[in-house]
């Protein structure tokens, strides 16, 4: 169940909120745990068992590490716990891909004539586990949110080992930390130490609840009114064969994707943060207007902050960070970004995307950063946008060939069939509006407007404050109705009776 679905919005959320605030405080965690498991089971049905196994195992690992740590030991348990979580991730997310790559390698080297059967073929045909673990085409199923809940669990184990956090004695509290539905399937990656006290005791204030609504509605509209509309534009372009793709359409496609991925992901994070606030939780920010950055280094301070800080704290710094030689620092950076790329998906395109960003970070640290400081801010900004957009080509493409082909089109390669896809058939007024709103929405104008409102309030300008509040309330209403409207539109399913 997506936050941006009518089922979530008009069925699940209202019911969960109503019961949550009717229940006594001591029962609220249990309710949230129950609905979070239901939320997960709605999307993963049987594989909810896998998450329960992960929760139970990690809680036992955590408790055991904590006890052993008091006695000066626990390293073996930490290694076992990390191996368990990484093992789950590898098994469900990467095993199929690795198996396929091995097959390709065997065929390429002549060791085999044909690649081995898919990994799923190892399960007996009559096994009931096939339905549970495999997709219809025989591939290993990727459980929703496994990358997130595995990283949650890892951060908790490592923090316990570092004595930065204590595992809750009540396993239900730990289960709630892992499963809490606002952040379960798409983050942000929440560290246990950040919300440990909130799980035990939290207060929902009127201001907090209202601010949660604001954030949720903004996130919803970012996802539905910008990301989804840009997605349609992008998908249309990426479906065009390279021989028919003009340069202008290729650029339109990647501009759409650049906005889609930001507004999709940051919109989801906004919704998660907003929902968290409605239930009394405060999650860390996950995005800070990354497209206003002027270097790749700055971009990664603003993009998917919870992931980049996770890699920084649990991988980059333990590897030595920038405390060693330059070569060592560059190596560490590349290792982090290779893994960061692969975290996003098991495909060589993600690997290339990670290496690409890692290389730019290395270059900026080596000399490019200093050189950039000497050029005008606008050029630095253009540099960043260009680098990021080229990176998104690899991120979005299904294969490397498609990525190279799109880059070729962006570079102006002639396409004999380009006339078959005129620009105006793809760039309609709705998409154009979404792009313009997306570009404006990528800047921190809202924060500035809020700061202006606060200053007006502090100066006692009641009339202006009321007018601004009214405008804000009206805007939120428009955004909510507009989003609901688009969600209803997504459910429109006409039957074309005269198909032959």
């Amino acid at each position: 169940m997506l936050f941006s679905s009518v089922t979530f919005l008009f069925l699940f959320l209202g019911l969960v909120l109503a019961v949550h605030f009717v229940l006594p405080r001591r029962a609220r965690n249990l309710w949230l745990l129950a609905v979070s498991l239901f939320f997960y089971a709605w999307g993963e049905t049987v594989l909810v068992g896998l998450m329960l196994l992960s929760i139970a195992s990690n809680w036992i690992f955590g408790i055991s590490i904590e006890r052993q740590r008091e006695k000066g030991g626990g390293r073996a348990l930490l290694v076992a716990g990390c191996t368990f979580n990484i093992g789950l991730l590898v098994l469900f997310k990467y095993a199929d891909w690795i198996w396929t790559q091995i097959g390709v390698l065997l065929v390429t080297t002549g060791a085999r004539d044909v690649p081995p059967e898919a990994l799923g073929a190892l399960l007996p045909a009559e096994s009931m586990w096939r339905d549970v673990l495999l997709t219809a085409d025989g591939h290993v199923r990727l459980p929703i949110g496994i990358s997130f809940f595995s990283f949650h669990a890892l951060s908790c184990l490592i923090d316990v080992w570092r004595r930065d956090a204590r595992v809750p004695r009540n396993p239900l509290d730990y289960a709630l930390y892992i499963t809490l539905f606002p952040q379960l399937v798409a983050g942000p990656i929440v560290r246990y130490k950040d919300i440990a006290t909130q799980i035990v005791s939290r207060i929902v204030t009127r201001e907090g609840f209202a601010s949660g609504i604001r954030r949720f509605v903004i996130g919803l509209s970012k996802k539905v009114l910008i990301a989804n509309i840009c997605a349609r534009g992008c998908d249309g372009v990426f479906a065009i064969p390279s021989a028919e793709l003009s340069s202008q359409l290729a650029w339109l496609g990647i501009v759409c994707y650049t906005l889609q991925i930001y507004f999709d992901f940051s919109g989801y994070s906004d919704m998660a943060i907003g929902l968290g606030r409605m239930f009394g939780f405060e999650f860390r920010e996950n995005f800070a207007h990354p497209y206003i950055s002027r270097s790749v280094t700055e971009f990664w301070r603003r993009w998917h902050i919870s992931l980049s800080s996770w890699f920084r704290d649990y991988l980059y710094i333990p590897l030595g960070g920038n405390r060693g030689s330059s070569a060592r620092t560059y190596t560490n950076l590349l290792i982090v970004f290779v893994l960061c790329g692969l975290w996003h998906g098991a495909n060589v395109t993600f690997l290339i995307w990670g290496v690409y960003h890692g290389l730019y970070l290395v270059l900026e640290r080596a000399f490019l950063g200093r050189a950039l400081e000497r050029v005008p801010a606008l050029l630095r900004h253009a540099y960043l946008i260009l680098v990021v957009m080229v990176g998104w080509v690899f991120f979005r493409a299904d294969t490397l060939e498609q990525a190279w082909s799109l880059l070729g089109s962006m570079a102006g390669r002639a396409a004999p069939g380009a006339h078959l896809h005129p620009l105006d058939q793809h760039l309609d007024p709705v998409l154009l509006t979404a792009i313009v709103c997306g570009v404006i929405g990528s800047t921190p104008w809202l924060e500035r407007a809020l700061a202006w409102r606060s200053s007006l309030e502090q100066r006692g300008r009641v009339g202006a404050t009321v007018a601004l509040e009214l405008a804000g309330l009206g805007a939120l209403c428009v955004l909510f109705v507009g989003s609901a409207m688009e969600l209803a539109g997504a459910s429109y399913n006409p039957f074309i009776y005269f198909r032959f």
Partner: protein, 549 residues
Amino acid sequence: MSATQVEPGLAREHAAGTGVRRTFDLALITLFLVALASPTLDACLRSVDERTAAHHEMRSVLEFPPTPRTTAALARFPTYVEGWFKDRMGLRDQLLRLRAHVRGLGFGVSPIEEADLAPEAWTFLRGDASREAWAGALTFTQNDLEAWEAALRSRADACRALGAQHLFLLGPNKETIYSERVPKTWHKFGPTRFEQLLAWLRERQTVEIVDLRPALWTAKAQDQPDEREFLYFPLGTHWTPRGDYVAYEVFHGRLKQLFPALSPPTLYSELLRQPFSGEGDSWAYRAFLEDVYTQPVYIMLPPKPAYYPAGVYGDGRRMIVALGPDTHAPRGILFHDSFGTNVSGLLAPHFSRLHCCWTSQLDLELIRREKPDVVMELYVERMMANTDPRTMHVTLPSDDALQRELERAPVFVLKREHFPEIVAGAGLSLRLAAESSGILRLRLERDGGYVVLPRLPEFQEPNGAGCVVNIEIIAADETDLALLPMRTGEDTPRRVHPGSAHLVSGWNAVRVRMPYIPNLERFALRPGRVPGRYVIVSFEVRPAEWDAR
């Protein structure tokens, strides 16, 4: 709540504010909760029929899925429930309408992907790759053209071999006739597939497609834009009654060449204009813009319409058999798509019997059975966008032995000379129609009533595969037909091994397969469970072995 974890910008965002902020916070919370609850409230206040948008989507609302009993069913269950909820969600129709107005009127963009909006409140179909086909972006290769030519020739040859003339008509897409009205985003690059194929066939002269475009272009001069009177529905894709009439005129002209004694055409002025309830062929209706985009909707009926019941085949294909007033007029079959439904009504009075079948598959078995004088095919141009010509190819059995066997096949067909043998059983009255077509009219007075049919020839092979019974029957209501075998020496039908078929209201062509029954002598037919009138148009029995061929 831990304030230390809140970043500076965020802290500003929800710092406890003044009374103004508190008032607006309360208003926002109230509005949000009301918004979350409003679809549920609407669902309580309006019934599913009132609030559903499914009639705009021309489909039924989804039912709640059954309780899952397998792992696979469990995995699909949430998706089905979400589909069920989406269909029944309160305010869905209002939200869809609002979206349509915002997109359609605010941005000038079609709210649905299936159709594009054009100037002066016209819509053009996007589905079936119509835009690309019109633009010339989808072109046939030489292999495609050869395959189409071969397919059309095979159909004409098959019809001629079965003793029927063959006419193949393609109705042009709306944009072919009204290309000046297409949306501004539609650009033309080259010839359409239709144009390519026509040119190819004209050059080769092996088979003909009747081209309706010249007649439509000529008739277009009579359009009345102020009244929104055109040859095609400006909001739909199909012909208006005027467009249907132009196609009918062309049809009639070609038929007249084949059958000089054909009755003269009905004049357009002779047709009776009847109002039509509903939106007619309108994408605006499907897009929730029917309150803004309108068009005149009416139907034109022949002054003396043929006897014209409609029904469906057992396999779901729509069919109509029209019985014209002149029993000496030609017999015809019309295979068609949605463009043929109204044209068939205009053509029917010129035929003694016109069997219309909504399919692009040339049903050779139907042609054999109907023995028509002419087989006509009428499809719309856009069928070429997604039809593989190889699927259009037909092959007549070339085996002479099979042909001889076909002729010898011990088929029993109910004819007028059999009528004296027919006996009405209890609970059923019988009227034997005098028409040469051998129609049998029955009146079922109570459930259980039956009619005993004539003796069958001995064609069942011992321990063979039984027989197949083809029945064309008109029923007033939806019901179940039963076929009861009677063995030698039996006076009343047996309840053992009955055959059955479900009937819809209207015309039915049902096929009942019966097992091998030793000493089968005749059948009794219980036409239905619902008392009322039934008409048996045809009744045919044949051995299953023969049928399998």
